[in-house]
C-alpha cells in the first residue's frame, strides 16, 4: 500500500494541551497585530487578533476587501510576520522562525492555495504537483511520481498529468493547485479566495473537494467572498478593519466555537 502520509506526527487529542508551547489547538493566534508602514503613516491591518482553530476544522474567513483577511491567513502560513503577538501552530512558534526555517516548515505543514492558481507555467501538471516533494525532499524520489499521480487522481486530473497548465481550464488548474498543496501531506490547507476566479459550478466542485479533505482530517482556512460557500463551511470568521467581528459555527462535527 502506498504510503501517502509523510510521517506520523504526535497528535495530542484536541483540548488536551499537549503542544510544545502550551497551545491546546492546532492553530493558536495570540494577540496578533500587524501594521504596515505607508505614506500616510502606520496602518494597522490586524489588531490584537486571537484565533483558535482545532484540527479538522473548516474555517471560512470573510470580510470586505481590505479588511485584513489575507493578512490574517498570511500569519498562519508564515508568509507574513506579526508586528506583535504569537502565532503557534502545532509544536511550532511560527513567528520565531527564520526565513529559511520557515520555508522548510511551511513546505511540510501548510499547503497554500492562491486565487490565481499560480502553477509554474513551464512545468507540467504532474511536475507542479511533484515540486513541493522535490523542494522539501520528502518521500523517496522514486515514490514521488506515484504520489503525485495519486493526488491528481484524487482531484480527477490524472488524464491531464502531462499537460502544461496553460492547456487546462481555470477550474482544472485550481484542482492541480490543491493537489500540489497536498503534496507533502500537510495538516493545514490555507486558501486565499480559491474560488474567486472560478464560475459558480466549478467553485462548487472545488468546495466539495475541500469538504472531502476536511472529512479526511485536514484543517482548512479559506478566505472567500462567496457567502453561500462560507455558510457551507463549518465555521465562519468575519473580519472588519483588522478585527474579528463575528465567529460562528454551524452544527456538525466541528461545531465548536473558537472563542
Amino acid at each position: 500500500m502506498l504510503k501517502l502520509r509523510a510521517k506520523s506526527r504526535p497528535r495530542p487529542p484536541a483540548g488536551a494541551g499537549g503542544y510544545h508551547h502550551g497551545n491546546t489547538h492546532l492553530i493558536d493566534l495570540r494577540s496578533v497585530t500587524k501594521s504596515y508602514q505607508t505614506a500616510a503613516g502606520e496602518f494597522p491591518a490586524l489588531r490584537q487578533i486571537d484565533l483558535l482553530v482545532d484540527r479538522g476544522e473548516f474555517v471560512a474567513v470573510v470580510g470586505k476587501s481590505g479588511s485584513g483577511k489575507s493578512t490574517l491567513i498570511n500569519m498562519v502560513t508564515g508568509i507574513d510576520r506579526p508586528t506583535a503577538g504569537q502565532v503557534l501552530i502545532g509544536d511550532t512558534a511560527v513567528h520565531t522562525l527564520s526565513e529559511g526555517q520557515m520555508a522548510v516548515w511551511r513546505g511540510k505543514h501548510v499547503g497554500v492555495i492562491f486565487q490565481f492558481f499560480q502553477l509554474l507555467p513551464t512545468l507540467t501538471v504532474l511536475e507542479n504537483v511533484m515540486l513541493p516533494m522535490d523542494f522539501c525532499n520528502t518521500y523517496p524520489s522514486r515514490a514521488r511520481v506515484q504520489r503525485a499521480m495519486a493526488l491528481l487522481e484524487e482531484v480527477a486530473m490524472v488524464e491531464h498529468a502531462d499537460k502544461l497548465p496553460s492547456a487546462t481550464s481555470g477550474g482544472q488548474q485550481q484542482r492541480v493547485a490543491i493537489a500540489r498543496a497536498l503534496a507533502n501531506d500537510p495538516d493545514i490547507i490555507v486558501a486565499d479566495e480559491p474560488t474567486g476566479n472560478l464560475d459558480s459550478k466549478t467553485a462548487d466542485a472545488v468546495f466539495q473537494l475541500f469538504q472531502r479533505l476536511v472529512d479526511e482530517g485536514k484543517t482548512i482556512l479559506m478566505v472567500t467572498h462567496d457567502e453561500e460557500l462560507a455558510r457551507r463551511a463549518g465555521r465562519t470568521v468575519t473580519i472588519a478593519d483588522g478585527l474579528i467581528v463575528s465567529d460562528t459555527a454551524r452544527g456538525g462535527r466541528n461545531g465548536e466555537l473558537g472563542q
Binding site: G100, G111, Q118, L119, F135, A150, V158, A161, S166, D185
Partner: protein, 872 residues
C-alpha cells in the same frame, strides 16, 4: 539533484496499484491510470525543479542563445590567446632550444679557424660557432633587387650553436649552388631549380643555382626586414675570389662557478671574448647579448599577448554584463514563481541554486562552442605567427592549461556576474511576490533624467507619441541600460582606439619619412665626387634633387665613471668576486654603435622635429644634433655637453646643440657634411646618393630608380645598392599591418559582444513589455508603429553609446597608441586620432542597434492581442 526510476518500469508499476489519498476510501478511486497519458519517460529524467530550469532556457530560446553566444565569444577570445601562448611557449621554445641558441653574438672584421679554436678553449666559453656573412643583392627581374645575406659555415653537419638545418636539396649546397632560407624563398620569386643572379659588394655579378632550402630559426623574419638569406659553401666563395674567413662569432658562456647565468654575466663573458678578439687585431663591430632561455621574439610577443589578453578579458567582461541583464530580467519576470516556490517549501538556498544552475547551463553551452573553437583558433593563430617566427607547428593535442582557463572563466565569470541579481531576486518575500504590493516593472518617473524626459514633451510637442514612448522606455530600466551602454561604449571606444592606433602607426611611418625625406638611395662601389653624382642624377627625368650624406658608424667614448665602476673584472674560475651587474649608464668605456649622418647644411631631405635645442646651422662645425633614441641610450648627455666620438679609430670632441625626435629609428647623430668631410678626409666625395623625385607614387619611384641605375651604369659608375622608400618601409609597414589586423580581430569580437548585448537587452525589454505591446495593439497600434517604437529605442541606445564611446576614445586612443609604441618601437607613436573611425563606428552601431532591435521587435509585432494579454 534527484533522479528517478527508468521510464520502462513506471507505467506498469503505476497501473498495478491504483493510488488513493490517505486511504480514506480506496474503493472510490479504483480506476487505473490510462498509461497512454502518462507514458512520457522524459519527465522522469529530471526532478521537476531542474525540468523548470531546462524549460525556462528553452522557452526563451532567443534570449538563451544570445547569452550563450556572448559568453562563448568572450571565452573563445580568452581561449585563443591563452592557448596560443601555451602552444607557442611549448613549440616555439622547443624549436628554438633545439638549435642550441647562443648566449651572445659578436660581429667582427674577420677571424680564422685558429682564433675560433682559441676562443673555444677559453674556460669561460662553453662552446662557440662561427659564420661568414656577405651582403649581396639578388636580382628579382625587371630591375628590382632584394638584399640577400649569404652565409658560409665551417662545418655543415656539426654546428655547435645556432644550428641551421637542411630542409630540402643537398646539404651543404654544391659549388655555385645556394640553399635559401625557407622564409626567404617566396620573397625571391624563385623556385628550387631556378638560377639567381647575385651582385657582390664590389659590383661583380655571379649566378647561383637554387638547389634547396634551409631552416634557420635565428634569423629575423625575412618579410619584417625585407631581406633574404641564403647559404653557400666557402668553396663557392673562394671561386668568387673571397678568401675563407669568419665574420660572426656565436658563443655560449660556461656556467658560472657560482651564481646564475644571467644577462650581466653573459655580458661579462662577451666582453672578455671581445677583448681577446681585439687583442688579436680583429675589430668587433657589434655585440648582441641574448637573454638566456628566451626567444628573441618574446620581447615583441609578450606585449602583443598582453594587449590581446586585456582585450579578450574585456570582451568576457562585457559578455558578463549581458548575463547580469538577462538574469536580472529572469528574476524580475519570475518573481511570482519564486514566491510560489517559496510558498510550497523552497528555501532561499534552493532558489539561488536553481537560478545559478541556469547560469551554469549557459556557461556549459557556451563552453560547448568556445572550447573546440578556442583550440582551433589557438592552433590557427599559432600557425599564423609561425609564418613570422619560422618554426613548424605540430598538432600536440588540446592545450590543456588553456582549456582549464576557458572552463574556469566560462563558468565562473557568468556565475559571478549572476550572483547579485540572483541573490537579490531570490530574497523577495512571498508577500512581495504574490501580493500586488510587490515590485513595479521598471520604475519610470523618478530621477532627473525621467523628469527631463517628461518635461521634454511639454517643450517639444512635435515629438511623435511613439517616439516619446521609445524615449521613456529607454530609461525605464536604468541598471540594465547602464550595463548595455557600458558594453557598447567600451566596444566602441576600443574600436575607435584600435583604428587610431592604426592611423598613429602610419603617422609614425610618415614622420619617419619626414626625417628621411628622399625617395631613392643609390650606393656605388667607391667614393665619387658629389657634384658629378648630383649632375648625373639630375639628368634622369623625374629627379628633382640629389644629395650625398656623409655616413659613419661611431661609438661614444664615455667619460670614465668614478673609480671601481669601470668594466668589472671577470672572475677567474672559482672566484666570484665582482660579479655584480653595473647599471649601463654608469659604465665607462664605449657606447653601443651609433649611426652618424652628415647631410649638407642646406639639405631638403630632412625635416627634423626638435624636442630640445636647435637644428644645425651652416656655420656649425663640430656641432651635433642627437636623436631621442641616442638620448635613451646615453642618458647622461645634455644639450651643451661636449662628447667624444671614435670615428675610424680616431677620437674627436663634439658639442651637442639639439635633440631631434627619432621616429622608428636607431641611435643617430647628425652633423654638417662639410665639416664631417674635412674631418674624415673625404671632402666633396661620397659613395652614395639620396634622390628626391617629383612623384609620391612608389611605382614611379621604382621606375625612376631603374632609370637612375641604367644612367649611372651607362656613364661608367657602378651601382651596388639601390632601394626606394617604399621598399625600405615595406618591412615596417608589414609588421604594423600584422599588429593592426590582430587588434582588429579583437575589436571585431568586442563589437560582436556589444551587438549581442544590445540584442539581448532589447529582447529582454520586449519580453517584459509583451503585455504592454498587447495593450497598444488592442488600442489600434499598427505593426509598423510597434516595430518603430522598439527599433527607435534600440537605435537611441546605440547613438547615446556612440557619443560616449567617442568621448572615451580620445584618452583611450592616446593611451593605447603610447603603449603600443613603447612596446614595439621603444617610444610612443606619433599620435593621430582617427576621425573616420568615429564615423565608421556610428555607422556600425546604428546598423547593429537597428538589427539588434529589429529581431525582437518583429517577434513582438507578430503577437496577437489574445496571446499577449494571456501572457504572464
Amino acid at each position: 539533484m534527484t533522479t528517478t526510476r527508468s521510464g520502462a518500469e513506471l507505467p506498469s508499476a503505476r497501473a498495478s496499484r491504483a493510488p488513493a489519498l490517505s486511504g480514506a476510501d480506496p474503493a472510490s478511486d479504483p480506476a487505473p491510470i490510462p498509461s497512454s497519458s502518462v507514458n512520457k519517460p522524459a519527465r522522469r529524467l529530471l526532478s521537476p525543479r531542474w525540468a523548470k530550469v531546462g524549460r525556462d532556457l528553452t522557452s526563451h530560446r532567443m534570449r538563451s542563445l544570445l547569452v550563450v553566444l556572448s559568453i562563448a565569444v568572450g571565452v573563445f577570445a580568452v581561449g585563443v590567446i591563452v592557448g596560443t601562448r601555451q602552444i607557442l611557449n611549448h613549440q616555439l621554445h622547443a624549436s628554438f632550444a633545439a638549435v642550441n641558441p647562443s648566449d651572445a653574438i659578436l660581429g667582427t672584421s674577420g677571424f680564422d679557424a685558429d682564433t675560433l679554436t682559441a676562443i673555444r678553449r677559453m674556460p669561460e666559453v662553453e662552446s662557440a660557432s662561427a659564420r661568414f656573412s656577405l651582403y649581396t643583392r639578388a636580382h628579382l627581374g625587371d630591375g628590382r633587387w632584394l638584399e640577400l645575406t649569404l652565409f658560409a659555415l665551417p662545418d655543415w653537419q656539426d654546428i655547435p650553436l645556432n644550428i641551421v638545418r637542411q630542409e630540402s636539396g643537398p646539404w651543404p649546397p654544391a659549388r655555385d649552388a645556394i640553399a635559401v632560407e625557407r622564409m626567404s624563398l617566396p620573397m625571391l620569386d624563385a623556385a628550387i631549380g631556378d638560377s639567381l643572379t647575385l651582385e657582390l659588394p664590389d659590383g661583380r655579378r655571379r649566378t647561383v643555382n637554387v638547389t634547396g632550402t634551409a631552416h634557420d630559426i635565428n634569423l629575423p623574419p625575412a618579410r619584417f626586414t625585407n631581406q633574404a638569406f641564403g647559404y653557400v659553401t666557402f668553396d663557392t666563395l673562394e671561386r668568387w675570389g673571397i678568401p675563407k674567413r669568419f665574420t660572426s662569432l656565436s658563443i655560449r658562456a660556461a656556467d658560472p662557478a657560482s651564481g646564475v647565468k644571467d644577462h650581466a654575466y653573459v655580458q661579462q663573458v662577451t666582453d672578455l671574448v671581445q677583448d681577446k678578439l681585439e687583442k688579436g687585431g680583429r675589430a668587433v663591430n657589434f655585440t648582441y647579448v641574448a637573454d638566456p632561455k628566451k626567444h628573441p621574439a618574446d620581447e615583441v610577443l609578450n606585449p602583443v599577448f598582453l594587449l590581446l589578453g586585456v582585450l579578450g578579458l574585456l570582451s568576457l567582461l562585457l559578455s558578463a554584463f549581458l548575463v547580469v541583464n538577462t538574469i536580472a530580467a529572469v528574476m524580475a519576470q519570475q518573481v511570482r514563481q519564486i514566491g510560489v516556490m517559496k510558498t510550497i517549501g523552497a528555501g532561499f538556498g534552493q532558489i539561488v541554486r536553481l537560478y545559478l544552475g541556469m547560469v551554469l547551463i549557459f556557461g556549459l553551452l557556451a563552453l560547448l562552442v568556445a572550447l573546440p573553437a578556442g583550440v582551433a583558433g589557438a592552433y590557427g593563430f599559432t600557425i599564423f605567427l609561425s609564418q613570422f617566427l619560422n618554426f613548424d607547428v605540430v598538432y600536440e593535442g588540446v592545450p590543456l592549461s588553456a582549456l582549464a582557463v576557458q572552463v574556469l572563466v566560462g563558468l565562473l565569470v557568468p556565475l559571478a556576474a549572476a550572483l547579485i541579481p540572483i541573490y537579490s531576486g531570490a530574497r523577495v518575500t512571498i508577500r512581495e511576490a504574490i501580493s500586488n504590493y510587490g515590485l513595479g516593472q521598471g520604475r519610470f518617473g523618478h530621477g532627473p533624467a525621467d523628469r527631463f524626459l517628461v518635461a521634454s514633451q511639454r517643450y517639444a510637442p512635435w515629438l511623435s507619441r511613439p517616439l516619446v514612448i521609445s524615449l521613456r522606455n529607454t530609461f525605464r530600466r536604468k541598471g540594465r541600460l547602464a550595463l548595455t551602454m557600458t558594453t557598447l561604449t567600451l566596444g566602441g571606444a576600443i574600436f575607435i582606439a584600435v583604428l587610431s592606433v592604426r592611423t598613429s602607426l602610419y603617422q609614425t611611418v610618415d614622420d619617419a619619412i619626414r626625417n628621411n625625406n628622399f625617395h631613392i638611395v643609390i650606393g656605388f662601389d667607391r667614393d665619387l665626387r658629389v657634384e658629378v653624382l648630383q649632375n648625373e642624377a639630375l639628368q634622369v627625368p623625374g629627379v628633382i634633387a640629389a644629395e650625398s650624406w656623409g655616413r659613419a658608424s661611431t661609438r661614444r667614448q664615455r667619460p670614465d665613471a668614478p673609480d671601481d665602476a669601470g668594466v668589472p673584472g671577470f672572475p677567474l674560475s672559482g672566484q666570484s668576486e665582482g660579479l655584480g651587474a653595473t647599471p649601463p649608464g654608469m659604465r665607462g668605456g664605449e657606447s653601443d654603435e651609433i649611426r652618424l649622418l652628415a647631410p649638407p647644411a642646406d639639405s631638403q631631405m630632412i625635416q627634423p622635429q626638435l624636442t630640445a635645442g636647435r637644428w644645425l646651422l651652416p656655420e656649425d662645425e663640430n656641432a651635433l644634433v642627437v636623436n631621442t633614441n641616442f638620448m635613451d641610450a646615453e642618458e647622461d648627455v645634455a644639450i651643451g655637453d661636449t662628447i667624444t666620438l671614435r670615428i675610424d679609430g680616431k677620437d674627436s670632441d663634439w658639442v651637442v646643440v639639439g635633440v631631434a625626435e627619432g621616429v622608428l629609428d636607431q641611435a643617430t647623430i647628425y652633423t654638417n657634411s662639410e665639416y664631417f668631410g674635412r674631418l674624415t678626409g673625404r671632402a666633396g666625395r661620397a659613395n652614395s646618393l639620396r634622390v628626391l623625385t617629383d612623384s609620391e607614387d612608389p611605382a614611379e619611384h621604382r621606375r625612376i630608380a631603374a632609370a637612375l641605375e641604367h644612367h649611372f651604369e651607362d656613364a661608367g659608375y657602378h651601382v651596388t645598392q639601390l632601394s626606394t622608400r617604399a621598399e625600405n618601409l615595406e618591412g615596417t609597414e608589414y609588421q604594423f599591418s600584422i599588429l593592426v589586423n590582430m587588434l582588429l580581430v579583437m575589436t571585431f569580437l568586442m563589437a560582436l559582444v556589444g551587438g549581442l548585448g544590445l540584442m539581448g537587452t532589447m529582447s529582454i525589454s520586449v519580453i517584459e513589455r509583451t503585455r504592454e505591446i498587447g495593450v497598444m495593439r488592442a488600442i489600434g497600434a499598427a505593426t509598423r508603429a510597434i516595430l518603430q517604437i522598439i527599433i527607435v529605442e534600440g537605435v537611441l541606445i546605440g547613438l547615446i553609446s556612440w557619443a560616449q564611446a567617442t568621448l572615451l576614445a580620445f584618452p583611450l586612443s592616446r593611451l593605447l597608441s603610447d603603449q603600443v609604441g613603447i612596446a614595439f618601437t621603444d617610444s610612443p607613436l606619433s599620435f593621430s586620432f582617427s576621425l573616420p573611425a568615429i564615423a565608421l563606428w556610428l555607422l556600425i552601431v546604428a546598423l547593429v542597434a537597428a538589427l539588434a532591435s529589429y529581431l525582437p521587435a518583429r517577434t513582438a509585432s507578430r503577437l496577437t492581442v489574445r496571446e499577449v494579454l494571456a501572457y504572464e
